[in-house]
Symmetry: C2
Subunit: 104 residues, 2 copies
DNA sequence: TTGACATGCAACCATCTGGTTGCCTATCAT
DNA sequence: ATGATAGGCAACCAGATGGTTGCATGTCAA
């Protein structure tokens, strides 16, 4: 879980996930296209995404195809974000109340 | 949005949010209790959370009260995670299909 | 088989990050 | 007033992070 959060913390990595979401199963070179980064930098990012289980790869000859695995993202939604949903409703009005009350 | 992701990337900070979720409106000292960290380290974390708008503070005499703001967390769920929900359904079976088809 | 293409590996580098220590300021209670 | 309590500020440090360059390897096509 921590690995997933860490992996999602970088904008380049989130953008890679976006690209895979737009078109799944891209090669490394394809994912590099149009990015202001070396291939090796992208490789590193993909390694981190793979480590976090957000991306699965598949060798196909000399190409390496990358597939998005949305399960960990979903789990963050379920196990983590969901927990704060109830708080969302309460906290705002509560904060407002306190702000007004404590304004000495 | 990036700031929120960055803020959530650190386990200590997520734990601070958890603590505020358990009991809202804690002082700095209270939040330090039981943590294997100096007060200054916690201060820094809270500053990052505040910067990301995940925590709002309120001075009350010499105390500083910290309140959880769950809105950005909610937004990540809505604007980011939701986008990958549909993919979750498709991708797994798709990946499985490709894995079997490309197994030369 | 040989050149071109797709990827891998390793060393190196600057900067960011998470943490520390030391000291200062503000406020409360006696 | 004065000590104790709550917090703030700044300098410093080691290690993580995001990126680079250079070279090696594997595979396809002519």
């Amino acid at each position: 879980m921590d690995e997933v959060f860490k992996a999602l913390a970088d904008p380049s990595r989130r953008s890679l996930l976006d690209r895979l979401h737009a078109r799944n199963g891209q090669t490394l070179s394809e994912l590099c296209d149009g990015l202001a980064m070396t291939r090796q930098a992208v490789t590193k990012h993909l390694a981190i995404l793979e480590e976090a289980n957000l991306v699965s790869t598949l060798r196909h000859g000399r190409e390496k195809l990358h597939y998005l695995n949305p399960v960990p993202i979903h789990q963050i939604g379920e196990r983590w974000i969901r927990k704060f949903e109830r708080a969302k409703l309460v906290a705002l009005s509560e904060l407002k109340r306190r702000l007004e009350a404590d304004e000495t």
